[in-house]
Symmetry: C2
Subunit: 290 residues, 2 copies
Protein backbone atom coordinates (compact mmCIF):
# COMPACT_ATOMS: atom_id res chain seq x y z
CA UNK A 1 0.00 0.00 0.00
CA UNK A 2 1.16 3.46 -0.83
CA UNK A 3 0.17 6.58 1.07
CA UNK A 4 1.05 8.92 -1.82
CA UNK A 5 -2.13 10.31 -3.34
CA UNK A 6 -2.66 9.02 -6.87
CA UNK A 7 -1.36 11.13 -9.74
CA UNK A 8 -3.62 11.02 -12.79
CA UNK A 9 -2.32 9.40 -15.94
CA UNK A 10 -1.10 11.89 -18.57
CA UNK A 11 -1.64 11.25 -22.28
CA UNK A 12 -0.78 13.42 -25.25
CA UNK A 13 -2.68 11.83 -28.13
CA UNK A 14 -6.31 11.20 -28.94
CA UNK A 15 -5.57 7.59 -29.95
CA UNK A 16 -4.03 6.85 -26.56
CA UNK A 17 -6.95 8.58 -24.82
CA UNK A 18 -9.52 6.58 -26.76
CA UNK A 19 -7.74 3.31 -26.11
CA UNK A 20 -7.91 3.91 -22.37
CA UNK A 21 -11.48 5.23 -22.39
CA UNK A 22 -12.76 2.30 -24.46
CA UNK A 23 -11.63 0.08 -21.60
CA UNK A 24 -13.25 2.39 -19.03
CA UNK A 25 -16.55 2.26 -20.91
CA UNK A 26 -16.38 -1.51 -21.38
CA UNK A 27 -16.09 -1.86 -17.62
CA UNK A 28 -19.36 0.07 -17.32
CA UNK A 29 -17.85 3.15 -15.72
CA UNK A 30 -19.40 6.52 -16.51
CA UNK A 31 -17.11 9.38 -17.52
CA UNK A 32 -17.09 13.03 -16.48
CA UNK A 33 -15.07 15.61 -18.43
CA UNK A 34 -13.46 18.82 -17.22
CA UNK A 35 -12.10 20.84 -20.17
CA UNK A 36 -9.49 23.41 -19.11
CA UNK A 37 -6.75 25.56 -20.56
CA UNK A 38 -4.46 24.60 -17.67
CA UNK A 39 -2.84 26.97 -15.17
CA UNK A 40 -5.18 25.20 -12.80
CA UNK A 41 -6.61 26.91 -9.74
CA UNK A 42 -9.26 26.15 -7.14
CA UNK A 43 -11.99 26.96 -9.67
CA UNK A 44 -10.85 24.10 -11.88
CA UNK A 45 -10.35 21.79 -8.92
CA UNK A 46 -13.93 22.42 -7.80
CA UNK A 47 -15.11 21.21 -11.22
CA UNK A 48 -12.98 18.08 -10.93
CA UNK A 49 -14.34 17.37 -7.45
CA UNK A 50 -17.88 17.78 -8.76
CA UNK A 51 -17.19 15.31 -11.56
CA UNK A 52 -15.51 12.90 -9.14
CA UNK A 53 -18.60 13.03 -6.92
CA UNK A 54 -20.99 12.22 -9.77
CA UNK A 55 -19.03 10.03 -12.18
CA UNK A 56 -16.81 6.97 -11.97
CA UNK A 57 -13.96 8.31 -14.05
CA UNK A 58 -12.88 11.92 -14.56
CA UNK A 59 -10.95 13.17 -17.58
CA UNK A 60 -9.29 16.59 -17.45
CA UNK A 61 -8.16 18.17 -20.70
CA UNK A 62 -5.46 20.83 -20.69
CA UNK A 63 -5.26 22.68 -23.98
CA UNK A 64 -4.68 26.35 -24.67
CA UNK A 65 -6.89 26.55 -27.74
CA UNK A 66 -5.37 28.91 -30.30
CA UNK A 67 -8.59 29.29 -32.28
CA UNK A 68 -10.39 31.09 -29.47
CA UNK A 69 -7.75 33.81 -29.21
CA UNK A 70 -8.01 36.79 -31.54
CA UNK A 71 -5.22 38.79 -33.13
CA UNK A 72 -3.54 40.91 -30.48
CA UNK A 73 -4.90 38.77 -27.65
CA UNK A 74 -2.77 36.96 -25.11
CA UNK A 75 -2.33 33.53 -26.72
CA UNK A 76 1.46 33.57 -26.33
CA UNK A 77 1.34 35.08 -22.83
CA UNK A 78 -1.35 32.71 -21.57
CA UNK A 79 0.21 30.76 -18.67
CA UNK A 80 1.30 27.20 -19.49
CA UNK A 81 2.23 25.26 -16.35
CA UNK A 82 1.75 21.55 -17.09
CA UNK A 83 4.10 20.27 -14.36
CA UNK A 84 2.46 22.39 -11.69
CA UNK A 85 -0.95 21.39 -13.07
CA UNK A 86 -0.12 17.70 -12.72
CA UNK A 87 0.95 18.39 -9.12
CA UNK A 88 -2.29 20.27 -8.46
CA UNK A 89 -4.27 17.35 -9.88
CA UNK A 90 -2.56 14.80 -7.66
CA UNK A 91 -5.03 13.49 -5.16
CA UNK A 92 -7.93 15.63 -6.35
CA UNK A 93 -9.76 12.83 -8.12
CA UNK A 94 -8.87 13.21 -11.78
CA UNK A 95 -8.12 9.87 -13.43
CA UNK A 96 -6.74 10.91 -16.79
CA UNK A 97 -5.26 14.10 -18.22
CA UNK A 98 -5.19 14.79 -21.94
CA UNK A 99 -2.66 17.50 -22.79
CA UNK A 100 -2.40 17.43 -26.57
CA UNK A 101 -0.24 19.57 -28.86
CA UNK A 102 -1.80 22.11 -31.19
CA UNK A 103 -1.08 19.74 -34.09
CA UNK A 104 -2.80 16.85 -32.32
CA UNK A 105 -5.99 18.90 -32.00
CA UNK A 106 -5.96 20.72 -35.34
CA UNK A 107 -4.76 18.48 -38.15
CA UNK A 108 -3.22 20.22 -41.19
CA UNK A 109 -6.05 21.47 -43.36
CA UNK A 110 -8.57 21.65 -40.52
CA UNK A 111 -11.50 23.58 -42.00
CA UNK A 112 -14.69 22.61 -40.15
CA UNK A 113 -15.98 25.05 -37.54
CA UNK A 114 -19.01 25.43 -35.35
CA UNK A 115 -20.97 28.50 -36.30
CA UNK A 116 -22.71 29.72 -33.15
CA UNK A 117 -25.86 31.79 -32.96
CA UNK A 118 -27.07 35.00 -31.40
CA UNK A 119 -26.06 33.98 -27.89
CA UNK A 120 -22.45 34.44 -28.95
CA UNK A 121 -22.88 37.95 -30.37
CA UNK A 122 -23.04 40.39 -27.44
CA UNK A 123 -20.60 40.93 -24.55
CA UNK A 124 -17.55 38.70 -25.10
CA UNK A 125 -18.57 38.06 -28.69
CA UNK A 126 -18.56 41.76 -29.52
CA UNK A 127 -15.17 42.33 -27.91
CA UNK A 128 -13.59 39.07 -29.02
CA UNK A 129 -14.78 38.38 -32.58
CA UNK A 130 -14.50 34.70 -33.45
CA UNK A 131 -13.85 33.74 -29.82
CA UNK A 132 -16.93 31.55 -29.40
CA UNK A 133 -16.50 29.95 -32.82
CA UNK A 134 -13.13 28.74 -31.52
CA UNK A 135 -14.56 27.78 -28.13
CA UNK A 136 -17.51 25.87 -29.55
CA UNK A 137 -15.36 24.03 -32.08
CA UNK A 138 -12.74 22.89 -29.59
CA UNK A 139 -15.34 21.96 -26.98
CA UNK A 140 -17.23 19.89 -29.55
CA UNK A 141 -13.96 18.21 -30.52
CA UNK A 142 -13.13 17.45 -26.88
CA UNK A 143 -16.63 16.06 -26.33
CA UNK A 144 -16.13 13.80 -29.35
CA UNK A 145 -12.65 12.71 -28.25
CA UNK A 146 -13.72 11.79 -24.74
CA UNK A 147 -17.32 10.61 -25.09
CA UNK A 148 -18.18 11.65 -21.54
CA UNK A 149 -21.65 11.55 -20.02
CA UNK A 150 -21.21 15.05 -18.56
CA UNK A 151 -18.90 18.03 -18.85
CA UNK A 152 -18.20 20.59 -16.14
CA UNK A 153 -17.79 24.32 -16.66
CA UNK A 154 -17.44 27.30 -14.35
CA UNK A 155 -20.05 30.03 -14.05
CA UNK A 156 -17.31 32.65 -14.37
CA UNK A 157 -17.41 32.13 -18.13
CA UNK A 158 -21.16 32.69 -18.09
CA UNK A 159 -21.59 33.37 -21.78
CA UNK A 160 -19.34 30.44 -22.70
CA UNK A 161 -21.63 28.14 -20.72
CA UNK A 162 -24.67 29.62 -22.48
CA UNK A 163 -23.12 29.16 -25.94
CA UNK A 164 -22.12 25.58 -25.12
CA UNK A 165 -25.59 24.74 -23.82
CA UNK A 166 -27.13 26.12 -27.02
CA UNK A 167 -24.68 24.06 -29.08
CA UNK A 168 -25.51 20.92 -27.10
CA UNK A 169 -29.24 21.48 -27.66
CA UNK A 170 -28.92 22.44 -31.34
CA UNK A 171 -26.58 19.59 -32.26
CA UNK A 172 -28.29 16.94 -30.08
CA UNK A 173 -25.05 16.21 -28.27
CA UNK A 174 -25.52 13.31 -25.85
CA UNK A 175 -23.83 15.05 -22.91
CA UNK A 176 -24.96 16.81 -19.75
CA UNK A 177 -23.56 20.29 -19.09
CA UNK A 178 -22.91 20.94 -15.41
CA UNK A 179 -22.20 24.46 -14.22
CA UNK A 180 -20.34 25.13 -10.97
CA UNK A 181 -20.22 28.38 -8.98
CA UNK A 182 -17.46 30.94 -9.32
CA UNK A 183 -14.65 30.32 -6.85
CA UNK A 184 -13.17 33.51 -5.38
CA UNK A 185 -10.03 34.51 -3.55
CA UNK A 186 -10.65 35.51 0.09
CA UNK A 187 -10.87 39.18 -0.98
CA UNK A 188 -13.46 38.42 -3.66
CA UNK A 189 -11.38 38.33 -6.86
CA UNK A 190 -12.76 35.60 -9.12
CA UNK A 191 -10.16 32.90 -9.63
CA UNK A 192 -8.74 32.94 -13.13
CA UNK A 193 -5.65 31.57 -14.79
CA UNK A 194 -5.03 35.11 -16.00
CA UNK A 195 -4.70 36.39 -12.41
CA UNK A 196 -1.15 35.01 -12.55
CA UNK A 197 -0.38 37.69 -15.13
CA UNK A 198 -1.23 40.53 -12.70
CA UNK A 199 1.51 42.57 -11.03
CA UNK A 200 1.01 43.00 -7.26
CA UNK A 201 -0.38 46.48 -7.91
CA UNK A 202 -2.68 45.29 -10.70
CA UNK A 203 -3.81 42.40 -8.49
CA UNK A 204 -5.00 44.97 -5.95
CA UNK A 205 -6.70 47.09 -8.59
CA UNK A 206 -8.41 43.99 -10.00
CA UNK A 207 -10.71 43.93 -6.98
CA UNK A 208 -12.84 46.62 -8.62
CA UNK A 209 -14.59 43.98 -10.76
CA UNK A 210 -15.97 42.19 -7.73
CA UNK A 211 -16.62 45.47 -5.91
CA UNK A 212 -18.71 46.73 -8.83
CA UNK A 213 -20.78 43.53 -8.79
CA UNK A 214 -21.27 43.75 -5.03
CA UNK A 215 -22.40 47.35 -5.42
CA UNK A 216 -24.92 46.28 -8.06
CA UNK A 217 -26.29 43.70 -5.65
CA UNK A 218 -26.56 46.27 -2.86
CA UNK A 219 -28.31 48.79 -5.10
CA UNK A 220 -30.86 46.20 -6.17
CA UNK A 221 -31.39 45.21 -2.53
CA UNK A 222 -32.04 48.87 -1.74
CA UNK A 223 -34.73 48.91 -4.41
CA UNK A 224 -32.87 50.42 -7.33
CA UNK A 225 -34.16 48.84 -10.55
CA UNK A 226 -32.92 51.22 -13.24
CA UNK A 227 -30.10 49.42 -15.01
CA UNK A 228 -28.70 52.70 -16.42
CA UNK A 229 -28.16 54.00 -12.89
CA UNK A 230 -26.75 50.70 -11.64
CA UNK A 231 -24.34 50.38 -14.59
CA UNK A 232 -23.18 53.98 -14.14
CA UNK A 233 -22.40 53.37 -10.45
CA UNK A 234 -20.56 50.15 -11.40
CA UNK A 235 -18.49 52.06 -13.96
CA UNK A 236 -17.60 54.66 -11.33
CA UNK A 237 -16.43 51.88 -9.02
CA UNK A 238 -14.29 50.30 -11.72
CA UNK A 239 -12.85 53.67 -12.72
CA UNK A 240 -11.38 53.98 -9.21
CA UNK A 241 -8.66 51.58 -10.38
CA UNK A 242 -6.16 53.81 -12.18
CA UNK A 243 -5.17 51.21 -14.80
CA UNK A 244 -8.65 49.88 -15.50
CA UNK A 245 -10.04 50.00 -19.04
CA UNK A 246 -13.62 48.80 -19.33
CA UNK A 247 -14.70 46.53 -22.23
CA UNK A 248 -18.26 46.36 -20.95
CA UNK A 249 -20.47 46.69 -17.90
CA UNK A 250 -23.69 44.93 -18.79
CA UNK A 251 -27.04 44.22 -17.17
CA UNK A 252 -28.76 41.65 -19.33
CA UNK A 253 -31.34 38.93 -19.49
CA UNK A 254 -29.54 35.80 -18.19
CA UNK A 255 -31.03 33.58 -20.91
CA UNK A 256 -30.76 35.77 -24.00
CA UNK A 257 -28.02 38.20 -22.88
CA UNK A 258 -30.14 41.02 -24.27
CA UNK A 259 -29.88 44.31 -22.36
CA UNK A 260 -32.67 45.05 -19.89
CA UNK A 261 -33.87 48.46 -18.76
CA UNK A 262 -34.98 47.34 -15.33
CA UNK A 263 -33.88 44.66 -12.88
CA UNK A 264 -37.01 42.53 -12.57
CA UNK A 265 -36.62 38.92 -11.55
CA UNK A 266 -33.21 37.52 -12.50
CA UNK A 267 -30.74 39.83 -14.21
CA UNK A 268 -27.13 39.07 -15.08
CA UNK A 269 -24.53 41.67 -14.19
CA UNK A 270 -21.38 41.04 -16.23
CA UNK A 271 -18.14 43.01 -16.50
CA UNK A 272 -15.01 42.77 -18.62
CA UNK A 273 -12.12 45.01 -17.66
CA UNK A 274 -8.49 45.31 -18.68
CA UNK A 275 -6.18 45.94 -15.72
CA UNK A 276 -2.84 46.94 -17.18
CA UNK A 277 -2.42 44.30 -19.92
CA UNK A 278 -4.64 41.62 -18.43
CA UNK A 279 -8.27 41.22 -19.40
CA UNK A 280 -10.51 39.95 -16.61
CA UNK A 281 -14.20 39.05 -16.53
CA UNK A 282 -16.64 38.47 -13.71
CA UNK A 283 -20.39 38.25 -13.26
CA UNK A 284 -23.20 37.68 -10.80
CA UNK A 285 -26.93 37.13 -10.92
CA UNK A 286 -29.03 39.94 -9.46
CA UNK A 287 -32.44 39.07 -8.07
CA UNK A 288 -35.05 41.77 -7.55
CA UNK A 289 -37.73 41.20 -4.91
CA UNK A 290 -40.95 40.65 -6.77
CA UNK B 1 -43.54 -18.63 -35.81
CA UNK B 2 -44.41 -16.09 -38.43
CA UNK B 3 -43.21 -16.26 -42.02
CA UNK B 4 -43.81 -12.53 -42.64
CA UNK B 5 -40.47 -10.73 -42.92
CA UNK B 6 -39.88 -8.39 -40.01
CA UNK B 7 -40.94 -4.76 -40.43
CA UNK B 8 -38.58 -2.33 -38.67
CA UNK B 9 -39.87 -0.36 -35.74
CA UNK B 10 -40.83 3.24 -36.58
CA UNK B 11 -40.19 6.07 -34.13
CA UNK B 12 -40.79 9.78 -34.54
CA UNK B 13 -38.89 11.34 -31.65
CA UNK B 14 -35.28 11.48 -30.57
CA UNK B 15 -36.21 10.57 -26.98
CA UNK B 16 -37.90 7.37 -28.11
CA UNK B 17 -34.96 6.57 -30.37
CA UNK B 18 -32.45 7.07 -27.58
CA UNK B 19 -34.44 4.96 -25.15
CA UNK B 20 -34.38 2.04 -27.56
CA UNK B 21 -30.74 2.49 -28.57
CA UNK B 22 -29.56 2.71 -24.96
CA UNK B 23 -30.93 -0.80 -24.54
CA UNK B 24 -29.27 -1.95 -27.76
CA UNK B 25 -25.92 -0.59 -26.59
CA UNK B 26 -26.30 -2.09 -23.12
CA UNK B 27 -26.76 -5.49 -24.74
CA UNK B 28 -23.39 -4.99 -26.43
CA UNK B 29 -24.74 -4.71 -29.95
CA UNK B 30 -22.98 -2.42 -32.41
CA UNK B 31 -25.04 0.03 -34.42
CA UNK B 32 -24.88 0.99 -38.09
CA UNK B 33 -26.66 4.10 -39.38
CA UNK B 34 -28.11 4.78 -42.82
CA UNK B 35 -29.23 8.42 -43.10
CA UNK B 36 -31.71 8.98 -45.93
CA UNK B 37 -34.26 11.49 -47.15
CA UNK B 38 -36.72 8.67 -47.86
CA UNK B 39 -38.26 7.80 -51.24
CA UNK B 40 -36.12 4.72 -50.83
CA UNK B 41 -34.70 2.86 -53.81
CA UNK B 42 -32.19 0.07 -54.37
CA UNK B 43 -29.34 2.47 -53.69
CA UNK B 44 -30.57 3.02 -50.14
CA UNK B 45 -31.32 -0.67 -49.68
CA UNK B 46 -27.76 -1.54 -50.67
CA UNK B 47 -26.53 0.71 -47.84
CA UNK B 48 -28.86 -0.97 -45.38
CA UNK B 49 -27.68 -4.41 -46.48
CA UNK B 50 -24.07 -3.32 -46.05
CA UNK B 51 -24.82 -2.09 -42.53
CA UNK B 52 -26.73 -5.29 -41.74
CA UNK B 53 -23.73 -7.33 -42.87
CA UNK B 54 -21.29 -5.45 -40.64
CA UNK B 55 -23.30 -4.35 -37.60
CA UNK B 56 -25.69 -5.94 -35.17
CA UNK B 57 -28.39 -3.29 -35.37
CA UNK B 58 -29.22 -0.97 -38.25
CA UNK B 59 -30.94 2.39 -37.86
CA UNK B 60 -32.40 4.12 -40.92
CA UNK B 61 -33.31 7.79 -40.67
CA UNK B 62 -35.83 9.29 -43.06
CA UNK B 63 -35.80 13.07 -42.98
CA UNK B 64 -36.12 15.56 -45.82
CA UNK B 65 -33.79 18.15 -44.36
CA UNK B 66 -35.06 21.67 -45.14
CA UNK B 67 -31.74 23.34 -44.35
CA UNK B 68 -29.94 21.72 -47.26
CA UNK B 69 -32.40 23.04 -49.83
CA UNK B 70 -31.87 26.53 -51.22
CA UNK B 71 -34.45 29.08 -52.23
CA UNK B 72 -36.10 27.98 -55.46
CA UNK B 73 -35.00 24.38 -55.00
CA UNK B 74 -37.34 21.40 -54.83
CA UNK B 75 -37.93 21.09 -51.06
CA UNK B 76 -41.72 21.02 -51.44
CA UNK B 77 -41.62 18.76 -54.50
CA UNK B 78 -39.15 16.30 -53.00
CA UNK B 79 -40.94 12.92 -52.83
CA UNK B 80 -42.22 11.89 -49.39
CA UNK B 81 -43.37 8.27 -49.34
CA UNK B 82 -43.11 7.00 -45.76
CA UNK B 83 -45.64 4.15 -46.14
CA UNK B 84 -43.96 2.83 -49.26
CA UNK B 85 -40.57 3.29 -47.56
CA UNK B 86 -41.66 1.17 -44.60
CA UNK B 87 -42.80 -1.50 -47.05
CA UNK B 88 -39.47 -1.32 -48.88
CA UNK B 89 -37.64 -1.69 -45.58
CA UNK B 90 -39.58 -4.78 -44.58
CA UNK B 91 -37.30 -7.76 -44.66
CA UNK B 92 -34.23 -5.84 -45.79
CA UNK B 93 -32.49 -5.83 -42.40
CA UNK B 94 -33.24 -2.43 -40.90
CA UNK B 95 -34.13 -2.67 -37.22
CA UNK B 96 -35.32 0.84 -36.46
CA UNK B 97 -36.54 3.79 -38.52
CA UNK B 98 -36.43 7.35 -37.23
CA UNK B 99 -38.75 9.60 -39.22
CA UNK B 100 -38.88 12.84 -37.26
CA UNK B 101 -40.81 16.01 -38.01
CA UNK B 102 -39.02 19.21 -38.97
CA UNK B 103 -39.77 20.57 -35.48
CA UNK B 104 -38.30 17.48 -33.83
CA UNK B 105 -35.01 18.03 -35.64
CA UNK B 106 -34.82 21.82 -35.53
CA UNK B 107 -36.04 23.20 -32.22
CA UNK B 108 -37.36 26.79 -32.23
CA UNK B 109 -34.39 29.11 -32.11
CA UNK B 110 -31.97 26.60 -33.60
CA UNK B 111 -28.86 28.65 -34.41
CA UNK B 112 -25.80 26.37 -34.40
CA UNK B 113 -24.45 25.28 -37.77
CA UNK B 114 -21.49 23.38 -39.10
CA UNK B 115 -19.30 25.62 -41.20
CA UNK B 116 -17.61 23.41 -43.77
CA UNK B 117 -14.33 24.09 -45.53
CA UNK B 118 -12.97 24.29 -49.06
CA UNK B 119 -14.18 20.79 -50.00
CA UNK B 120 -17.72 22.18 -49.97
CA UNK B 121 -17.02 25.14 -52.26
CA UNK B 122 -16.82 23.85 -55.85
CA UNK B 123 -19.32 21.79 -57.88
CA UNK B 124 -22.48 21.33 -55.78
CA UNK B 125 -21.36 24.04 -53.36
CA UNK B 126 -21.11 26.61 -56.13
CA UNK B 127 -24.53 25.75 -57.56
CA UNK B 128 -26.27 25.15 -54.23
CA UNK B 129 -24.99 27.81 -51.81
CA UNK B 130 -25.48 26.70 -48.21
CA UNK B 131 -26.31 23.14 -49.26
CA UNK B 132 -23.39 21.47 -47.47
CA UNK B 133 -23.79 23.63 -44.38
CA UNK B 134 -27.28 22.13 -44.10
CA UNK B 135 -26.06 18.62 -44.95
CA UNK B 136 -23.16 18.71 -42.47
CA UNK B 137 -25.35 20.09 -39.70
CA UNK B 138 -28.11 17.53 -40.07
CA UNK B 139 -25.68 14.65 -40.50
CA UNK B 140 -23.83 15.70 -37.35
CA UNK B 141 -27.16 15.89 -35.52
CA UNK B 142 -28.18 12.43 -36.74
CA UNK B 143 -24.79 11.03 -35.70
CA UNK B 144 -25.32 12.52 -32.24
CA UNK B 145 -28.89 11.25 -31.98
CA UNK B 146 -28.02 7.69 -32.95
CA UNK B 147 -24.47 7.19 -31.62
CA UNK B 148 -23.69 4.58 -34.28
CA UNK B 149 -20.28 3.00 -34.86
CA UNK B 150 -20.57 3.54 -38.61
CA UNK B 151 -22.68 5.43 -41.12
CA UNK B 152 -23.31 4.44 -44.73
CA UNK B 153 -23.47 6.80 -47.68
CA UNK B 154 -23.71 6.33 -51.43
CA UNK B 155 -20.95 7.28 -53.83
CA UNK B 156 -23.50 9.05 -56.05
CA UNK B 157 -23.29 12.01 -53.67
CA UNK B 158 -19.53 12.04 -54.04
CA UNK B 159 -18.91 15.54 -52.73
CA UNK B 160 -21.30 14.98 -49.83
CA UNK B 161 -19.24 11.97 -48.77
CA UNK B 162 -16.06 14.04 -49.04
CA UNK B 163 -17.49 16.88 -46.94
CA UNK B 164 -18.75 14.44 -44.31
CA UNK B 165 -15.38 12.68 -44.13
CA UNK B 166 -13.65 16.03 -43.64
CA UNK B 167 -16.14 16.92 -40.90
CA UNK B 168 -15.60 13.58 -39.17
CA UNK B 169 -11.82 14.12 -39.23
CA UNK B 170 -11.93 17.79 -38.21
CA UNK B 171 -14.43 17.29 -35.38
CA UNK B 172 -12.97 13.98 -34.14
CA UNK B 173 -16.30 12.25 -34.55
CA UNK B 174 -16.11 8.66 -33.26
CA UNK B 175 -17.78 7.12 -36.30
CA UNK B 176 -16.65 5.23 -39.39
CA UNK B 177 -17.87 6.48 -42.76
CA UNK B 178 -18.60 3.68 -45.22
CA UNK B 179 -19.15 4.48 -48.88
CA UNK B 180 -21.07 2.14 -51.17
CA UNK B 181 -21.05 2.08 -54.98
CA UNK B 182 -23.64 3.84 -57.10
CA UNK B 183 -26.57 1.57 -57.93
CA UNK B 184 -27.89 2.01 -61.47
CA UNK B 185 -31.02 1.13 -63.39
CA UNK B 186 -30.47 -1.53 -66.08
CA UNK B 187 -29.99 1.23 -68.67
CA UNK B 188 -27.36 3.00 -66.56
CA UNK B 189 -29.32 5.84 -64.93
CA UNK B 190 -28.04 6.31 -61.39
CA UNK B 191 -30.78 5.54 -58.88
CA UNK B 192 -32.08 8.67 -57.20
CA UNK B 193 -35.18 9.63 -55.31
CA UNK B 194 -35.52 12.48 -57.78
CA UNK B 195 -35.91 10.04 -60.68
CA UNK B 196 -39.53 9.68 -59.55
CA UNK B 197 -40.04 13.32 -60.59
CA UNK B 198 -39.10 12.62 -64.24
CA UNK B 199 -41.76 12.37 -66.94
CA UNK B 200 -41.35 9.31 -69.21
CA UNK B 201 -39.75 11.55 -71.81
CA UNK B 202 -37.42 13.20 -69.28
CA UNK B 203 -36.55 9.76 -67.90
CA UNK B 204 -35.31 8.80 -71.35
CA UNK B 205 -33.37 12.05 -71.76
CA UNK B 206 -31.80 11.59 -68.30
CA UNK B 207 -29.64 8.81 -69.73
CA UNK B 208 -27.28 11.45 -71.12
CA UNK B 209 -25.62 11.84 -67.70
CA UNK B 210 -24.48 8.24 -67.65
CA UNK B 211 -23.70 8.29 -71.39
CA UNK B 212 -21.44 11.30 -70.90
CA UNK B 213 -19.56 9.52 -68.09
CA UNK B 214 -19.19 6.35 -70.19
CA UNK B 215 -17.84 8.45 -73.04
CA UNK B 216 -15.30 10.03 -70.70
CA UNK B 217 -14.17 6.55 -69.65
CA UNK B 218 -13.85 5.44 -73.26
CA UNK B 219 -11.86 8.53 -74.24
CA UNK B 220 -9.45 7.97 -71.38
CA UNK B 221 -9.11 4.31 -72.36
CA UNK B 222 -8.28 5.45 -75.90
CA UNK B 223 -5.47 7.58 -74.46
CA UNK B 224 -7.14 10.99 -74.36
CA UNK B 225 -5.83 12.88 -71.32
CA UNK B 226 -6.81 16.47 -72.04
CA UNK B 227 -9.68 17.26 -69.69
CA UNK B 228 -10.82 20.21 -71.84
CA UNK B 229 -11.40 17.88 -74.77
CA UNK B 230 -13.06 15.21 -72.61
CA UNK B 231 -15.38 17.75 -70.93
CA UNK B 232 -16.33 19.25 -74.28
CA UNK B 233 -17.26 15.81 -75.65
CA UNK B 234 -19.27 15.13 -72.48
CA UNK B 235 -21.13 18.42 -72.90
CA UNK B 236 -21.96 17.54 -76.49
CA UNK B 237 -23.37 14.21 -75.33
CA UNK B 238 -25.52 15.86 -72.66
CA UNK B 239 -26.70 18.53 -75.11
CA UNK B 240 -28.26 15.78 -77.22
CA UNK B 241 -31.09 15.72 -74.64
CA UNK B 242 -33.36 18.57 -75.75
CA UNK B 243 -34.42 19.57 -72.22
CA UNK B 244 -31.00 19.28 -70.59
CA UNK B 245 -29.50 22.30 -68.86
CA UNK B 246 -25.98 21.73 -67.55
CA UNK B 247 -24.95 23.01 -64.08
CA UNK B 248 -21.45 21.58 -64.46
CA UNK B 249 -19.34 18.99 -66.21
CA UNK B 250 -16.20 18.66 -64.12
CA UNK B 251 -12.97 16.70 -64.22
CA UNK B 252 -11.33 17.16 -60.86
CA UNK B 253 -8.92 15.73 -58.34
CA UNK B 254 -10.97 13.16 -56.37
CA UNK B 255 -9.51 14.27 -53.03
CA UNK B 256 -9.52 18.07 -53.36
CA UNK B 257 -12.14 18.50 -56.12
CA UNK B 258 -9.80 20.98 -57.77
CA UNK B 259 -9.92 21.02 -61.58
CA UNK B 260 -7.18 19.09 -63.36
CA UNK B 261 -5.83 19.76 -66.85
CA UNK B 262 -4.93 16.16 -67.58
CA UNK B 263 -6.28 12.78 -66.54
CA UNK B 264 -3.33 11.24 -64.77
CA UNK B 265 -3.94 8.53 -62.21
CA UNK B 266 -7.40 8.90 -60.62
CA UNK B 267 -9.67 11.69 -61.81
CA UNK B 268 -13.29 12.28 -60.85
CA UNK B 269 -15.75 13.00 -63.63
CA UNK B 270 -18.86 14.63 -62.17
CA UNK B 271 -21.94 16.06 -63.83
CA UNK B 272 -25.01 17.98 -62.67
CA UNK B 273 -27.78 18.46 -65.17
CA UNK B 274 -31.35 19.72 -65.05
CA UNK B 275 -33.70 17.64 -67.17
CA UNK B 276 -36.92 19.60 -67.43
CA UNK B 277 -37.41 20.65 -63.79
CA UNK B 278 -35.42 17.88 -62.14
CA UNK B 279 -31.78 18.29 -61.18
CA UNK B 280 -29.74 15.11 -61.42
CA UNK B 281 -26.12 14.35 -60.55
CA UNK B 282 -23.82 11.47 -61.38
CA UNK B 283 -20.13 10.73 -61.31
CA UNK B 284 -17.45 8.15 -61.96
CA UNK B 285 -13.76 7.73 -61.30
CA UNK B 286 -11.55 7.75 -64.38
CA UNK B 287 -8.26 5.90 -64.23
CA UNK B 288 -5.51 6.64 -66.71
CA UNK B 289 -2.98 3.93 -67.48
CA UNK B 290 0.30 5.05 -65.95
Amino acid sequence: MNATPPRPRLVKTVDELRGILDGVRRSGRRIGLVPTMGALHEGHLSLIRASKAEYDYTVVTIFVNPSQFGLGEDLTEYPRTLDADMDALTGCGADLVLAPSDEEVYRPGHATWVEVGAGAEPLEGRHRPGHFRGVATVVLKLFNMVGAQAAYFGQKDYQQVLVIKLMVADLDLPIEIRVCPIIREPDGLAMSSRNACLSPDARQQALVLWKSLCLAGELVEQGECDTRIIAERMRQTIAMAKDARIDYVALVDPDTLEPVDRVEGRTLAAVAVHIENTRLIDNCLLKAES
